[in-house]
Amino acid sequence: QYVPPYTEDCRTGMYPPEGPTFKGEVPWYTVDLDLPPSKRWTDVITDKKNNMEAMIQAIKDLADAFVPSGKLTDLVDRDLPLMVDTLPYPFNEEIKGVAATSGVPLGEVILFNIFYEVFTV
């Protein structure tokens, strides 16, 4: 795998991060595990809900590209919520809290959280 300019010699002096390969620091949040599961992610999701909606919309656009009728999205919104209580506690409750705080439909938050298994399909 040596195809310049798509590959390059080993970089040096890249730390501390700056320049075109560095797009920004990552913010810190605290999740208090003593809180009820559905309340734990409130701070994070309150700040990030718009970004979450945009990301989920991109997945929906992709789904609609495969199934233009929109039936795939309907299936996610209608059927996935039925499985939330088959997910292990406390993750099911945390997922419900994420949906409630973000306003994103529960089925779509569940899909996001099991995407690893779904993506291997």
Binding site: K23, D32, L33, D34, K48, M55, A58, E94, I114, Y116
Partner: protein
């Protein structure tokens, strides 16, 4: 993804990773749509109980499972995607049909980070728990020689690979291919990453030089959302959102 754990000459363990995601999920303006949508969602989280840190992680907001985490002074953990025919769709099918003795991958990593209290315990849980989908778990401990790549099928651990300082293996590195087979020639990020690690040499390994390796194309590519650097001894976790300026490999 590229994950690695390296041991410096003083026996300190450094665990680092590039999280690459969004393949084939929309390509626009010479970048992956999904990858760009994920970058603003990257957050570092300090999970606390009784007002004390239990573990730290780098997450995508809204995703309650774990892909990258550190239990201070105990162990560090990252996971990379593994593709096999006996994949997640079989696990999902079993789940739908009511056979629910497997666990969703990211809930296992979350449980391990939240509840395991040693490298050995974490390693046992990651190796033995039945999964819905195959995966690679890259685990670092808090003693010299404690690091391994756990290659998981849905039901078992295959060919675990451990650090072996005596034999000169002072780091373990995993992309998205079984370590005992050559990677797909179209997606060989292992070779350039190992070339740069070997060029760095153990005597010069540090958080800084590991970041250099993860910043070298194609280890850094259009799918790379973030880079995380972890040091178990100090309990330090740092993450950075990444970009790959053109020309850059799409994966």
């Amino acid at each position: 993804c590229t994950s690695l754990v390296a041991e410096d000459p003083a026996g300190n363990l450094i665990h680092a990773r590039n999280l690459d995601f969004g393949l084939f999920m929309g390509w626009k303006n010479k970048s992956w749509v999904m990858t760009e949508k994920l970058k603003p969602l990257v957050v570092n989280v300090d999970f606390r109980r009784n007002n004390r840190t239990v573990f730290k992680s780098t997450n995508f907001a809204g995703y309650v499972g774990m892909l990258t985490g550190l239990r201070p002074q105990m162990f560090t953990l990252t996971m990379n995607e593994r593709f096999t025919l006996d994949g997640g769709y079989i696990g999902i099918l079993e789940w739908i049909l009511g056979k629910r003795n497997g666990i969703w991958m990211s809930f296992l990593t979350r449980s391990v980070l939240e509840n395991a209290t040693s490298y050995a315990e974490a390693k046992k849980q990651l190796s033995d728990t039945k999964l819905l989908a195959p995966a690679y778990f890259i685990l670092g401990g808090n003693q010299t020689g404690e690091a391994c790549i756990i290659t998981r099928s849905r039901t078992q651990s295959i060919h675990p690979l451990e650090l072996d300082i005596q034999q000169g293996r002072w780091y373990v590195l995993e992309t998205n291919y079984d370590h005992w087979k050559p990677p797909l020639f179209l997606d060989d990020r292992r070779t350039p990453a190992m070339k740069c690690m070997n060029q760095t040499t153990q005597s010069n390994i540090s958080v800084k030089t590991v970041y250099d390796v993860l910043s070298t194309k194609p280890v850094l590519n259009k799918l790379t959302t973030y880079t995380t650097l972890m040091e178990v001894a100090s309990g330090k976790l740092e993450s950075f959102i990444r970009d790959c300026p053109n020309p850059c490999m799409p994966w």
